[in-house]
Assembly symmetry: C2
Homo-oligomer: 241 residues x 2
DNA sequence: ATACCATAGTTGTCTGTACAAGTGAACCGG
DNA sequence: CCGGTTCACTTGTACAGACAACTATGGTAT
């Protein structure tokens, strides 16, 4: 019950982590400043080096500390307070609600890259690129318009797939695991043809998520997901470290 | 090149992690299935238990595995493909761009909780609550309208603070570290008074972030951040594990 | 003065051992 | 048949020691 007692209800490595985080949040240790070395902490706290090491390593993984071999351990710079959101595959999300997901393939063809597209996919202007336009619906109500461009080098058989059965997202992440992803979220008004497809008014605000995935230095795919603000929202719950 | 070679260029615990992730992604081990115990892996791979333990523990932290003391280690369920976003403190973000951040306090007072607010803050209807309305601007252009309600029990001195110097976000997270946070992002059209304050048209779509922070089971604060879609977007870059 | 080298101190990893704590099944006594 | 106990097995934590890899500094030889 009493947490200040000496009988350690909490693991020692957690105690070390808390101590360090308190020193940082209290302003005692400032960003960029060096924190005591493992051996110093071993001597100060009377714990084994493996225990100290685990505490410091986990704090480094969490972004609280920065460790440089041969140099020392430092309080990580700023990073302020960040809140994280998670965006899931739309088909999974709908299925989890117990609703019916359907995808209508509106466009699935090959095209020549426009200057902007060539820049986005990091290919030559006029080079071939795959394009798909898919309307996702939940219980027959359209909820997402997926406009996607794919690098043919990454997925040569893209045009032969049946995306009414498996979403491009799922196919791509299963066959070409990405190493990096870039996201942008913004609020926009739909173009007239987009509003028509989503069966909303042109004045209805939409969430637009732009997602670009990389495999190494190559661009795999660039997609724009447009969702009516009245029917979709991103939610998440986060625990502090 | 050959990963089965004995000259370990990569640390052994990383090799174990990769081996396990490959078994999972290849479908060899399916979600929910039990993976070999630490002792079995020790015998199979000829490594020490601490090395195996580190590999399994890190994979569990990353959400790939689920470990239950006394039972075993299991492949984590689905979780599909999630993409994460990070939303930072607006003042930090503006400062990082080298621009000037200014905050204008429009409202800062005490009020009696309406039924909805009482529900949001988990207090009694009619109980006192603090309310602040702050307009954030970047180089004199309004970029965010922050409408915040604070639980007086959590921050009794809230009304005495000068939020033109320090944002409520920074003050609250410094004095009352939250343990949980709940977020929602949606696209909306601004109310007429909101459009007026942000100096935009009522037809301009906005990003609305609703953030609710908890300290234990108590609600600390509930805030709604409204940003013109034309002037703000959330971006992030993510690395795959 | 410059280039090279040795060295102390740091983090990174790995091993082997030990005990604690939790789970489930087999076992035994009533 | 029921209930408690014991036992094997699991993960969680902690320790002591060792070597490797890396960094900066100072000394040394040129």
């Amino acid at each position: 019950m009493d947490d200040t007692s000496d009988q350690t209800a909490v693991p020692r490595y957690l105690g070390v982590k808390h101590m360090i985080q308190q020193r940082i949040s209290s302003g005692d240790w400032t960003p960029g400043q060096r924190v005591p070395s493992e051996n110093e902490l071993v001597a100060d706290l009377g714990l084994s080096r493996m225990t100290i090491n685990r505490a410091l390593r986990e704090l480094a993984n969490e972004g609280v500390l920065t460790r440089i071999q041969g140099l020392g351990t430092f309080v990580a710079e700023g990073k302020g307070h960040t809140s994280t959101f998670e965006v899931r595959n739309i088909a999974d999300e709908i299925a989890e609600r117990g609703h019916v997901h359907a995808a209508k393939v509106l466009v699935l063809d090959q095209m020549r890259a426009t200057p902007e597209l060539a820049d986005a996919l990091q290919i030559e202007i006029g080079a071939p690129a795959f394009h798909s336009l898919i309307l996702h619906s939940e219980n027959d109500i359209p909820v997402q318009l997926e406009d996607r461009f794919v690098n043919p080098m990454a997925a040569p058989d893209y045009l032969a797939l049946d995306f009414s059965r498996e979403t491009p997202n799922r196919y791509l992440s299963a066959t070409i695991p990405w190493t990096d992803a870039e996201h942008t979220v913004e609020a926009v008004l739909p173009a007239s043809w987009e509003a028509k497809l989503l069966a909303i008014s042109r004045a209805d605000p939409c969430l637009a998520i732009h997602r670009k995935t990389f495999a190494g230095s190559h661009v795999v795919s660039s997609a724009r997901l447009l969702m009516p603000g009245s029917r979709y929202r991103i939610s998440s719950r986060q625990k502090a470290g």
